[in-house]
């Protein structure tokens, strides 16, 4: 795989360095570790996210106003180590505790749990919300086995607003859990991603075939089939999502069509074009629609659809403006 890199092992660090040079007014690197933090953390509950590198802009670059205060980043597709997490948290925590949000993977769970124990020694209180939105990754009875994918965006968006609004750690945690429990995603993969420096993709799909539910690290999905048109793909994804989530007539949702890295914006827009009338025809209210490649996997081709079911409280936090270089929301225009 041809890539514009130097040493493969240096990719995460050099990515952060380049990013910080462009946005130095707002962000700085956490000394000694692969962390990015806002320059001036506010006097509130800290929100720290984290995960493996290579999913950009998530997690590293989802730091910003009314979003995360800092991100702790690991090597490519590997969770950050406990020391990175602890140093990153300490760089933004202001005595009100820290809310830790990350995708539900064995590595992240182990490292963040270990970090939370170390934070106790520093008398920093923490609460953890693991995102498990991928409905394909385990049956509903084993929901805590599900992986976190594009739903990270919505959970983090809501949690960022909740902590910015001055909620206590307990309250912010409650709101973030509610957002997590109402976020559902399902994706389709067209081709596998690569690990920088490795010759071959981490996994492959036969020519002309797609796989529903495939994980962003190539974890096999639920159904493999011949490539079908965008509309049918969208129909399949939404059908499964509605079935799993129980979202129905009268509910109000936010949607995200997320690209996995090499899928173009036009393809994402074509999915969204179908998604909107499908929801409307079922009497499901669309509060907001997002299209973007926010959580990716290097050259992976494919996309996912995420639904966030709103209630009054979640909507209030969802509508709060936020800013980061690659994800932002303006104040909602009155209809």
């Amino acid at each position: 795989m041809k890539k514009i890199i130097n040493q493969p092992a240096a990719v995460p660090e050099e990515t952060i360095e380049g990013f910080i040079r462009a946005y130095a007014d707002d962000f700085e690197k956490v000394e000694g570790v692969k962390g990015i933090r806002v320059r001036t953390p506010k006097d509130k509950v800290a929100l720290v996210i984290g995960g493996g590198s290579g999913h950009e802009p998530m997690f590293a670059m989802f730091v910003g106003e009314n979003l995360a205060d800092a991100s702790a980043n690991g090597n490519i597709f590997a969770s950050p180590d406990p020391n990175t997490i602890v140093q990153t948290v300490r760089s933004v925590e202001r005595g009100k505790g820290v809310l830790l949000i990350y995708g539900n993977y064995a590595g992240d769970n182990l490292n963040f749990d270990m970090a939370a124990e170390i934070l106790e020694d520093f008398e920093i209180e923490s609460r953890t919300v693991r995102v498990w939105d991928d409905v394909a990754s385990a049956p509903k009875e084993r929901i805590t086995d599900r992986r976190g994918i594009a739903g990270d965006v919505f959970v983090l968006k809501i949690a960022g607003a909740a902590t910015a609004a001055g909620l206590s750690l307990e309250e912010a945690y409650r709101v973030a859990v509610k957002a997590r429990d109402n976020t559902f995603s399902l994706g389709v993969a067209l081709s596998g991603g690569t690990i920088p420096g490795e010759e071959h993709p981490a996994f492959t799909l036969p020519d002309g075939e797609i796989e529903f539910g495939m994980g962003v690290h190539g974890e096999p999905g639920v159904k493999r089939m011949k490539l079908i048109p965008a509309d049918q793909t969208t129909d399949f994804l939404l059908e499964k999502l509605l079935e799993d989530s129980g979202i129905h007539r009268g509910d109000s949702v936010c949607t995200l069509v997320n690209g996995l890295g090499s899928t173009t914006l036009s393809e994402l827009c074509i999915i969204n074009r179908r998604l909107a009338p499908l929801l409307e025809s079922r009497g499901i209210g669309i509060h907001d629609m997002e299209i973007g490649s926010y959580i990716t996997c290097q050259e992976m081709a494919g996309a996912s659809i995420t639904l966030l079911r709103l209630d009054e409280e979640l909507q209030k936090y969802y509508d709060m403006p936020c800013w980061s270089p690659y994800y932002q929301k303006r104040a909602k225009k009155a209809k």
Binding site: A9, G52, G74, N75, I76, F77, A78, S79, P80, D81, P82, N83, T84, Y105, A106, G107, L110, N111, M114, S137, A138, D145, R147, I195, E198, H200, A202, F203, G215, H217, G218, E219, P220
Partner: protein, 215 residues
Amino acid sequence: MKTICTEEMKAMLLFIADRVMESKPMLTEVDSRIGDGDHGIGMETGFRAVKEVLSGEDFDTVNQLFRQTGIAMLNSMGGASGVVFSTMFMGGVKGMQDTSQIDTQAFADMMSRSLEAVQKRGGARRGDKTMVDALEPACAAMSEYQGGDFGEIFCRAAEAAQKGVEETKRYAAKFGRAKSLMERSIGYQDAGATSVWIIFRAAADWCLKKEAEEA
């Protein structure tokens, strides 16, 4: 070899580090079949850090040596492997009397405590298709062995670990990213278990080489 001193243990750990780093392509290949293919990269990263830390420093005790090995892995690797493999190296020295030389009995006891720490931390049991499937039989083989010879105890541990690796082919994954494969992971060996085998095999080879040199 009846005992190993701190300096020899350091040479052995450096030998193990080289062996694991050389095994990166093989580990990547094994992991790609049912994981995301990054296990080899993680192990290489961890043992490169171990080499840096160990090469640049002298250690007074075996305890320090294993603790620093673990910390080097923990702070460089990330991922589940980072926590689990660092615990394999530093979990056993916790609470152990400081010593500058160790016999096979004490080493077997240390590894049993490591296994306990790994299981407590990671939550995996035998049959879950993880590195525990190789570490547990290796530790059991070491505890059983009463002959007092390091070359022999590591050979037995490596053999037991290898059998454990073979057994992982029969298991469905319960942990890590291979978990979502469930039954589809059957037939493939676990990458973490494979690393455990490589580590014990390298330890055995180092002892045999050392004994041959001294003979």
